[in-house]
């Protein structure tokens, strides 16, 4: 390999109070290579990314190891000399582009600022034009004169990429750069980045929790968990033949639109700083764990061809069968009276400046026991529809019929049994539960209001409900603040189930959760659906999830339905162009990687397997 542009040796960072944040991280990056760093919350991946720029959060310090970027050491420099490296040798692309741009500065000037900081003699004009052209924000269309708020999310991110490449640094660190973007925009930005790498030979450290995105971008992958590397190697090898139980579990937890299958979550909670168990950090959640895993930390061993793994049982486990993917369950949908019928629904928002409503002329039906998915980008109106059905938003036109009878818009005026039989679970688990009330109190409320149970009867049922969502009964006395995101979401589901509903509306219920937790929650929902014969209206922007759990799907764009039908049909043979674009842009583990991706007309190379 040519001399590596990034070289990290046994890096360790810890809190000032002593608890380690990351430990024993070593890797090298060749010029023009993309390293993907994958991990969930608490894995330390962002800390690692920022450390490459010599930055540590207040309260965190370098403990051991070295970092060399472009041949220069990073640790031990004072702020002034670090400034010479940042932007010139190693640059940074942040997660939230809107927040990362100075709101009172035109973007062209902001880019020039970075240029002038490192190359005072360079011709600003030429470099600016070149930098903007590189990200397809051409100066002759006035992009350099715009303020950040006049650009879309994707354009803002391209500006930050321009800032990161204007001084042509050999390596760029990207911290979840597309997480806040729509799938279509994400696709374009990723293509942009790949092209930059091809043209400019920029090495990249791409940090993400999204394994599918990393699969497309990275040449090599580093899998991090609780501050340590559990597995590292070339992308294709790691994803196709994962050696570590965690990697295997991650791969099978990701809903993939091209490989729909039953998802398997990882039990337990992810490990945060200060909670590191002795021995292997993944042992408490690992289904292959043995006593020796919990007592001593395995070291990183090489398997074949630059593929390292940190597991004391990797050889034994490799002999076992590769992860079997079980087919997802298909439900026979009994035809008969539809449980819910939506006809020509229209909904507006009060402060709407323009005349276009958020939802226009939407019609669909849900049969008993069926799971209907509503999929679309943000702003497509899918959440609004969910809210209309739940009684939180009054539609401006159209009808909603439940069990044969029309229902009014606002929940307040609906009859009790309708309110009981339609329940909703929200996206943000951290705001779903009243922080001032204990868990049992939140669950009791629908029992008392919608099923008219007495206080004692209600309290009694709470335990059964907690068990139903696989939560220990002792959580009933806790406050939501003491629970993790996944646990809170389960409590929210328990609260919805308390009413004994027939229809469960799930509004992006897993979007805010870690991948492993997401799979577990989806698994739970599937189980409940079968056991309780629930119908579900599942709102999501993730086509992979749709492929794995829904029976029929509606694709929404800008308030109207583009396409609808059984999941099989729509995903395999989309009739609508928008649907096709969404499918192409959906990140997938089996997405064939090409050296240069073309933003338009990307073909789906792997066929979607039939269900």
């Amino acid at each position: 390999m040519e001399s590596p542009v990034v070289r990290v040796d046994h890096l360790a960072l810890a809190l000032n109070t002593g608890e380690p944040v990351i430990d024993d991280i070593s890797f090298q990056i060749a010029p023009g290579e993309i390293l993907g760093v994958v991990g969930e919350s608490g894995s330390g991946k962002s800390t690692l990314a920022l450390a490459l720029l010599g930055y540590t959060r207040p309260g965190v310090a370098f403990r051991a190891g070295t970092i060399a970027v472009g041949g220069e050491s990073v640790i031990g420099r004072d702020t002034r000399s670090l400034r010479e490296l940042r932007g010139k040798v190693v640059s940074y692309v942040p997660q939230d582009p809107g927040g990362a741009l100075n709101p009172s500065m035109r973007v062209g000037d902001a880019i020039l600022d970075v240029l002038r900081a490192h190359r005072p003699q360079a011709s600003g004009d030429e470099s600016l034009t070149a930098a903007l052209a590189r990200v397809e924000l051409h100066r002759d269309r006035g992009f350099d004169r715009r303020y950040p708020h006049q650009l879309s999310g994707g354009q803002q991110q391209r500006v930050t990429i321009a800032m990161a490449t204007v001084c042509e640094p050999p390596v760029a660190v990207l911290d979840e750069p597309t997480t806040g973007l729509d799938v279509l925009t994400q696709d374009r930005v990723l293509a942009e980045l790949l092209r930059l790498r091809a043209d400019e030979h920029v090495a990249m450290v791409y940090v993400s929790h999204d394994l599918a995105v990393v699969a497309r971008m990275a040449d090599r992958i580093l899998v991090m968990y609780a501050g340590r590397v559990l597995e590292a190697g070339p992308t294709s090898t790691v994803l196709e033949h994962p050696q570590h139980p965690y990697t295997r579990a991650l791969v099978s937890a990701i809903p993939d639109v091209r490989q729909p299958r039953a998802l398997r979550g990882i039990g337990g909670v992810s490990v945060g700083v200060g909670d590191w168990p002795p021995g292997c950090p993944f042992a408490p959640r690992c289904e292959h764990a043995q006593p020796r895993c919990e007592s001593s930390l395995p070291s990183l061993e090489a398997t074949a061809g630059h593929h390292d793994v940190r597991c004391c049982r990797w050889q034994e486990l490799a002999l076992e069968q590769a992860q079997e993917t079980s087919a997802r369950t298909q439900f026979g949908v009994p035809s008969g009276a539809a449980l819910l019928e939506v006809s020509r629904l229209e909904a507006r928002y009060q402060s709407q400046q323009d005349d276009r409503p958020a939802v226009r002329d939407v019609s669909f039906a849900i049969e008993p026991g069926e799971c209907v998915a509503l999929v679309g980008e943000s702003g497509s109106g899918k959440s609004t529809i969910a809210r209309c059905i739940a009684g939180l938003h009054v539609p401006s036109a159209g009808t909603i019929t439940f069990d044969g009878r029309p229902v009014k818009g606002a929940a307040r005026v609906r009859p009790l049994d309708v309110r009981r039989r339609i329940q909703i679970v929200f996206q943000n688990p951290y705001q779903s539960l009243n922080p001032r009330q204990r868990v049992h109190s939140s669950i009791e409320r629908p029992l008392r209001i919608l099923r008219r149970l007495s206080q004692d009867a209600a309290r009694h049922e709470v335990d059964g409900l907690l068990e139903r969502v696989r939560l220990p009964a002792r959580l009933a006395e806790r406050f939501p603040g003491e629970l993790s995101g996944g646990e809170r979401q389960r409590v929210a589901i328990a609260r919805a189930l308390a009413a004994k509903p027939d229809l469960l509306v799930c509004d992006e219920v897993t979007s805010a959760l870690d991948v492993s937790v997401q799979a577990a929650v989806l698994e739970l929902l599937q189980e409940l659906r079968v056991d309780l014969h629930l119908s579900m209206l599942f709102i999501t922007h993730n086509l992979g999830v749709v492929a794995c759990i829904a029976d029929s799907v509606l694709v929404m764009d800008n308030g109207s339905v583009c396409e609808t039908g059984p999941v099989n049909a729509v995903l395999n043979a989309p009739a609508n162009d928008y649907t096709r674009r969404l499918l192409n842009a959906a990140p997938s583990l089996s997405h064939e990687r090409s050296p240069v991706d073309h933003p338009a007309g990307l073909k789906v190379t792997a066929p979607v397997r039939p269900l």
Partner: protein
């Protein structure tokens, strides 16, 4: 544009409030002026002079109309004392000028000091400089003007005999001719309003310094000076303008007590005296005047903010 309209509406509402507070609340205005021992006949005469026999709405329109044209009505007390005509506008022109001088001097000191010390404390947040500034300003906002005034007088007059305890300017005289007399009133007003200003500027700046774009600028290797000036301060300025406007208003509020303490013949002490005398018309017009000044400060501040924040120039 919309703001100006809103301001005018608010002022109108304020004028109604003031008017009602004075004319409708218990206590007949005329008899209040004359005192309890006044003869019914004297009361009736005064009533007629104060137009109290006319319906409420007419009186209001009359007053407001006059106000807008510069005619602030006649002082009830003066009328009671036999004068046929005692235009308030004449009565207060002198005191108004004096107050403006006092306020202007204090403002000219307060604005740069608030900005400077507030920004300094924010940039050095957590360090000793910041602790010193923050704690002293915390003490500063805790003390009413008259306490500050008393303490200053106790030190600089009683103990040191350096400065006079009062700032009596003869009617028609020029307060600037006796600068020594102005020192303590200005100092009192300054200390009282500076503390609040520093704290609010500091809070605003701390918030800006913690934004993502400031951190991103640092991660891009920009020199610290540039980051502070163009990224932090420039964006912290807009909220600071509003903070300073609020502080100017606070300053105006402090004038009453400070003028009363030092015997300074300004509009504040005039008002206090008028309240003591239950001079309804005088209180009414002066209060309205001050309200107008108050609202004007807000309008100017809003305008400046629009200049500074490009995002607000677009329709929402």
């Amino acid at each position: 544009m919309r703001r100006t309209l809103g301001a005018i509406v608010a002022l109108l509402a304020a004028s109604i409030l003031i008017f009602l507070a004075l004319q409708v609340l218990p206590g007949n205005a005329a008899s209040a002026v004359l005192g309890r021992n006044a003869s019914p006949r004297a009361v009736r005469i005064l009533e007629r002079q104060m137009h109290l026999d006319q319906p409420l709405a007419t009186r209001y329109v009359h007053w407001l109309g006059g106000f807008v044209h510069g005619d602030l009505g006649d002082s009830s007390v003066a009328l009671a004392q036999g004068a046929t005509h005692a235009p308030i506008s004449h009565l207060i022109s002198g005191p108004l000028k004096n107050s403006l001088i006092l306020a202007a001097i204090t403002a000219m000191l307060m604005i740069p000091l608030s900005l400077g010390l507030g920004v300094l404390a924010a940039v050095r947040a957590g360090k000793p400089t910041d602790h010193l500034i923050s704690l002293s300003s915390l003490a500063g906002i805790s003390m009413p003007e008259f306490v500050i005034a008393s303490l200053l007088v106790a030190v600089f007059f009683v103990a040191l005999r350096w400065l006079p305890p009062v700032a009596i300017v003869p009617p028609g005289g020029d307060p600037l001719s006796a600068p020594k007399e102005l020192v303590l009133p200005v100092a009192t007003l300054l200390l009282a309003s500076l503390a609040g200003g520093i704290r609010m500027v500091r809070a605003g700046m701390v918030e800006v310094l913690q934004t993502e774009y400031v951190q991103a600028a640092r991660l891009n290797g920009l020199p610290e000076r540039r980051v502070l000036w163009r990224y932090a301060l420039r964006n912290g300025l807009a909220p600071s303008v509003q903070v300073l406007a609020q502080n100017l208003q606070y300053l105006i509020g402090g004038i009453f007590v400070v003028e009363a303490v030092f015997g300074y013949p300004g509009i504040g002490s005039t008002l206090v005296e008028a309240v003591g005398n239950r001079d309804a018309t005088l209180v009414q017009s002066v209060a309205m005047l001050i309200a107008v000044a108050y609202v004007l400060i807000n309008l100017v501040a809003d305008f400046l903010v629009l200049l500074l924040v490009p995002k607000l120039r677009e329709p929402a």
